[in-house]
């Protein structure tokens, strides 16, 4: 069991409340996933720099030295903000190249996300503390997805927590389990994708990133995922401009969507959505299995 939430703001006036709205939703999903939590926030996307979120699981990484090494290797300036064991970098260099370089040279570091607008946090522990430690409520932005985890398929580790991202500004949260992730991972590795965990959900993120890098729209990529990914899943997916929800054809894993003029919210359960402003005016429905629901700015 896990809890997932997603919030897509249609009215930019609410952008300042994105973090607090997402936090109130995630708070309600603690029981579904008490062992770890994570969130991905899409902030203003008109900045030219690339943002890179890094995670130090060992506790021994010297982020300042790493920044100096990246600046030397890529002849660029890097700005870094360090919060607990996360580092949020900004640079004008090629994000995908830096990701590859870090994965190769520094296996002790997990590259959580790369993109123009995406920032990501994940940590072990009570989701309430994770939200407080990384000030989810303080985030502004246009859309967010988040996850509370009850580990069933792999160990309780920060790297195994969601969201997962392998492509620029693309990430997902997953409730369920994939049965063919080993085969799909091997297939994607042959196509040049790189993975940092043994987790099934990372494979789904990698699959979508690979399809979209090959020219698919988000819709087309998910269409293919419905054919190629086997197992139980409800995914909430974020891209730079968009947000999508899809359930597997069997539809075992729960999901509910609510939409008003100002926002679209999805969650594993209604009680997360019940916290949102004007929910009484929302159109509320359960997404059909094997049907893609998506919104774009």
């Amino acid at each position: 069991m896990c809890g997932i939430v997603g919030l897509f703001l249609k009215n930019p006036k609410l952008n300042k409340s994105l973090g607090s709205m997402t936090a109130s939703m995630l708070y309600e999903m603690r029981e579904r996933g008490p062992d770890s939590a994570g969130f991905a926030v899409y902030q203003s996307s008109n900045v030219p720099e690339i943002k890179i979120t890094l995670l130090d699981q060992s506790g021994g990484v010297d982020f300042s030295a790493l920044v100096t090494a990246i600046e030397a290797a890529f002849s660029c300036a890097v700005e870094a903000r360090i919060v607990h064991n996360h580092a949020f970098l900004r640079t004008n260099a090629d994000g995908a190249e830096i990701r590859r370089w870090i994965i190769q040279k520094h296996p002790e570091i997990t590259v959580l996300s790369v993109g123009h607008s995406l920032e990501m946090v994940k940590a072990i522990g009570d989701p309430k503390n994770v939200m407080a430690d990384y000030d989810l409520s303080g985030y502004h932005g246009s859309h967010a997805i988040a996850h509370t985890r009850m580990a069933t398929e792999s160990a309780i580790t920060t790297a195994g927590s969601h969201p997962f991202s392998t492509g620029s500004d693309t990430c997902l949260v997953h409730n369920g389990s994939l049965s063919n992730h080993n085969n799909v991972r091997t297939f994607l590795q042959a196509k040049g994708e790189s993975f940092q965990t043994e987790n099934d959900s990372e494979v789904a993120a990698g699959y979508l990133a690979w399809r979209m890098r090959s020219g698919d729209s988000l819709q087309q990529a998910i269409d293919c995922a419905l054919q190629d990914l086997d197992g139980f899943y409800t995914f909430a997916i974020g891209t730079r401009e968009g947000f999508a929800v899809v359930r597997d054809p069997i539809g075992c894993k729960p999901a509910i969507i609510a939409e008003t003029e100002d926002w679209v919210a999805m969650s594993s359960e209604f009680r997360a959505i019940a916290t949102l402003p004007n929910v009484a005016q929302a159109k509320i429905w359960e997404p059909e299995p094997a049907t893609i629901y998506s919104w774009e700015h």
Binding site: G251, P254, F270, R271, E286, P289
Partner: protein
């Protein structure tokens, strides 16, 4: 009597409802909480003023429970008697394994509605999702809208009436002729549910009894 779930403990509210006999209750601010009004055994009337979470009205006996909103997964699961009315939609496996009583869903029900039903009557104003009536053993499932794929898969002796389209029938489920007795039974269920529809627009589905009956000609296969 009113209970406000924004401030009152759900277990205590459920206990009070279970102990009451012949009362009328409103549950305010349900906010999608789980297991609301579960395990009631006496003739009480309970109105839930909003959306309910998982397993609302589970194991109900005798009580009349209304959800003035949507219901989460497993609503009226294993109900024995009484009535449960959902004014909005119900999530998956509504009325699962229920032995008796009447479950009315005014909106649509998601997948596996009436799975393994054992005598309950379920009337759905809208559509039902795939695998509804899966392994249904007894009781009646009425659908005023459409039914998803594999309706009545592996069905035993339950009856299914559908007004709209059926995406596909499951294993051993077949269409059967509507006779006067079926029309009368259906009309009775619609009346009880407070829903209006023309009984002649419905088709009846049930078991062809090939899957669960032992056939002596197949003895050699055992």
């Amino acid at each position: 009597m009113e209970y406000d779930l924004a401030t009152q403990d759900l277990s205590e509210v459920n206990q009070a409802l279970q102990n009451a006999e012949g009362g009328k209750f409103s549950l305010l601010n349900p906010q999608g909480k789980h297991a609301l009004a579960c395990g009631l055994m006496h003739k009480n009337q309970v109105s839930i003023k909003g959306h309910a979470g998982y397993y609302v009205a589970g194991m109900n006996q005798n009580a009349d429970i209304v959800v003035e909103g949507n219901a989460g997964s497993g609503c009226a699961e294993n109900m024995m008697s009484g009535t449960v009315t959902v004014q909005g939609d119900a999530s998956q496996y509504a009325g699962a394994t229920a032995h008796g009583g009447l479950l009315v869903i005014k909106g649509s029900a998601a997948a596996r509605c009436g799975i393994s039903m054992k005598g309950v009557d379920i009337v759905v104003g809208g559509n039902v999702g795939h695998m509804s009536g899966f392994m249904a053993q007894a009781g009646r499932l009425v659908v005023l809208g459409d039914a998803g794929a594999d309706l009545g898969d592996s069905i035993y002796e339950a009856k299914i009436y559908v007004r709209g389209t059926v995406t596909s029938l499951g294993a051993d489920c077949i269409e059967k002729p509507m006779q006067d007795s079926h029309r009368a039974e259906l009309q009775g269920l619609l009346d009880q549910a407070g829903l209006v529809a023309e009984v002649n627009d419905f088709k009846r589905y049930g078991s062809s009894r090939k899957l669960y009956n032992f056939n002596v000609n197949h003895l050699g296969e055992y």
